[in-house]
């Protein structure tokens, strides 16, 4: 086994992890802050890339295309929010409905083609896997880190404002929030819009990084997002108390996820088993807090008897 090959593979894993880390931050906002499991992301994880790539192919400036991708993600969140708040559909189902409708919408955005390539030599792509081992300013790791820092900064500021606090309160206690005059329906819609615009940003960057957008690109995205959130909770939960640090932890969680995958591939795992492995990683990290509680309770129980 060639250890230098593994080291050599690390930049790619880190870059991929950082881009998915942006997506995981979007998931964190719905899953942890708003306390909603939002499955819209499996759809919006393709929408952002579709909008960005199609606009760029039609000559739109890359940053403007990125902005439009985020707006499209916002609309997806809005749709889920309306399904949930105005039509009383449970959030998981509302997300699934949007996800389903996004399949058709994404196809329509992509001119009813399921896959569209974008050529790194012809377009000014923000990140490209091709530069992942170069030492220059175009290295996608550097760019992804900058975007992440900016994003975390903005979110840290926003969730400290009156409006952001109202969103957090809605996730923490809806009855109390309404009693304090917060329109919780609006707060949820806003949260879903913010979350999905971040997911769409990640999607657009991923399509740049991979050099294509595919209508199935978002399939299973929620699992990767949740994996990152849960990994960060297990590893950094005690360490990172501050909101900005927590978001950083989530991005690191995604990096860890992709490093584990890369290591496993390097060890020679048959890739047919990769999905099984992904599910197991998430299951194990989900289980750790439960086991911890279980074992410490038993330990405490014994200790208690000893004292009695």
């Amino acid at each position: 086994m060639n250890f230098s090959a593994l080291l050599n593979a690390m930049p790619g894993a880190v870059a991929q992890g950082l881009i998915w880390g942006i997506m995981a931050i979007g998931v964190y906002i719905t899953y942890k802050v708003l306390d909603l499991a939002d499955l819209t992301v499996d759809g919006s994880m393709a929408t952002g890339g579709a909008v960005c790539v199609m606009l760029m192919l039609n000559g739109v400036n890359v940053w403007l295309a990125l902005l439009c991708a985020m707006l499209a993600g916002m609309l997806a969140g809005l749709l889920t929010g309306v399904f949930h708040t105005a039509m009383g559909i449970p959030p998981i189902l509302a997300g699934i409905l949007t996800q389903l409708s996004l399949y058709s919408i994404n196809l329509a955005i992509m001119d009813f083609k399921a896959n569209q390539g974008i050529n790194v030599t012809k377009y000014a792509l923000i990140v490209s896997q091709r530069n992942v081992r170069t030492a220059g300013l175009n290295n996608p790791i550097l760019t992804a880190l900058l975007i992440l820092a900016l994003l975390i900064g903005i979110l840290y500021w926003f969730f400290g404002t009156e409006l952001g606090s109202a969103l957090r309160a809605t996730g923490a206690n809806e009855a109390m929030s309404r009693a304090q005059g917060i329109n919780t329906n609006m707060a949820k819609i806003l949260g879903l819009m913010i979350s999905n615009s971040i997911v769409a940003l990640s999607s657009a960057l991923l399509s740049h990084y991979q050099g294509f957008v595919d209508v199935n690109m978002g399939r299973g995205a929620i699992v990767i997002g949740l994996a990152a959130v849960i990994i960060s909770e297990v590893i950094f939960g005690k360490l990172f108390r501050n909101f900005a640090l927590k978001l950083t932890g989530v991005a690191l969680g995604a990096v860890i996820y992709y490093i584990v995958i890369q290591v496993v591939l390097w060890l020679g795992l048959n890739t047919n088993l990769l999905k099984l492995l992904s599910a197991l990683i998430v299951a194990v990290f989900l289980g750790i807090p439960y086991w911890k509680a279980h074992f410490s309770a038993r330990y405490a129980g014994k200790g208690g008897r000893g004292h009695a």
Binding site: G117, Q210, F212
Partner: protein, 315 residues
């Protein structure tokens, strides 16, 4: 925390089936295949057979499958690029795109890709890509398929084009054959399904609206031919298929290419690149070497379709 790390490591070790030990071989080839699928498997096999025949044990393969997840293709090719393989074979469109995004120096050969110009966003297509990419196209001879449909069903008015909207290659084939069929005087209507769940109902509406159905080389259709047959057989609508597998399941006739042959041809190209130093950038994308006119005897009998002498029955 430490427990968690140990558990993950233990998990990883137990799951590791085969450790690829590659050291002294001359050529190392990474194969990235999009999904487990009969046709793609055949192409990978043909590729390996061709190279092994020519290079014997001087070549080693690292075959990885992304299980249908286009994102995993990126992870796999990242592994190849970091291991500095001598050549990457990308089986299906997203695998090719991921490989192209990952490297502009390692030669890449694609297969089971229908249209390189669209997949790689090349606007001035000349037959070769002009970059570190070449390969084989699984484009079925669509003009000939249109002619075949015309030969068998000269009196039909409307042709229903049935395919999966998630497959880029299908859309491309349908666009091309629509042109050919329209030139022959047929009216064409597209019927798309998003996944196997919609197949039956979409096929039903295609049967209601058309005289003949055409299904291109489409992975989703190929995986649910039984469901399609359950609709077309009672409706007595003949299906012309883009490839043998679909024809055997629910069609009456096809002009078939062999994915094994296609993979084999890709393997021969790989030999040119590896052993003879051929320049990938100027190598023209190749097409399937042989096509065969085939028919499904059972379906033809059921639907009362007369098949000319020179067709071969699918076994």
């Amino acid at each position: 925390m430490k427990k968690a790390v140990v558990m993950i490591l233990a998990l990883v070790l137990t799951l590791c089936m085969c450790a690829g030990a590659l050291a002294e071989e001359t050529y190392r080839v990474g194969v990235c295949q999009l999904v487990q699928h009969v046709a793609l498997d055949a192409a990978t096999l043909g590729f390996q057979d061709a190279l092994t025949e020519k290079l014997g044990d001087k070549v080693s393969f690292d075959v990885q499958n992304a299980s249908g997840d286009s994102n995993t293709c990126s992870t796999i090719v990242n592994n190849f690029v970091s291991a500095d393989v001598d050549l990457i074979m990308a089986n299906a469109t997203p695998a090719l795109q991921a490989a192209v995004a990952a490297t502009d120096s390692i030669p890449i050969l694609g297969t089971s890709v229908t249209d390189y110009a669209t997949a790689l966003d090349i606007s001035d297509w000349t037959g070769a890509t002009g970059m570190n990419v070449s390969g084989t196209s699984d484009l079925a001879p669509l003009q000939q398929q249109a002619d075949m449909l015309h030969e068998l069903f000269p009196d039909a008015k409307t042709v229903g084009l049935l395919y999966c909207s998630a497959e880029p290659n299908s859309k491309y084939q349908v666009d091309v054959i629509t042109e050919a069929l329209t030139a022959l005087g047929y009216a064409c209507v597209e019927y798309t399904f998003a996944d196997s769940n919609d197949v039956a109902s979409v096929t039903q509406s295609a049967c209601d609206g058309c005289d003949v159905l055409y299904i291109p080389t489409d992975n989703t259709a190929a995986s649910c031919t039984e469901a399609i047959r359950n609709v077309v057989e009672p409706a007595l609508k003949p299906v012309i298929a883009g490839e043998e597998g679909i024809c055997a399941g629910c069609g009456v006739a096809t002009l078939s290419i062999s994915y094994y042959d296609l993979g084999y041809a890709t393997g021969e190209m790989a030999y040119e690149v590896l052993a003879n130093g051929a320049d990938v950038a100027s190598m023209a994308v190749r097409f399937a070497p042989n096509v065969t006119r085939e028919y499904n005897a059972e379906m033809c009998a059921l639907l009362g379709v007369q098949i000319p002498e020179d067709y071969v029955a699918i076994q």
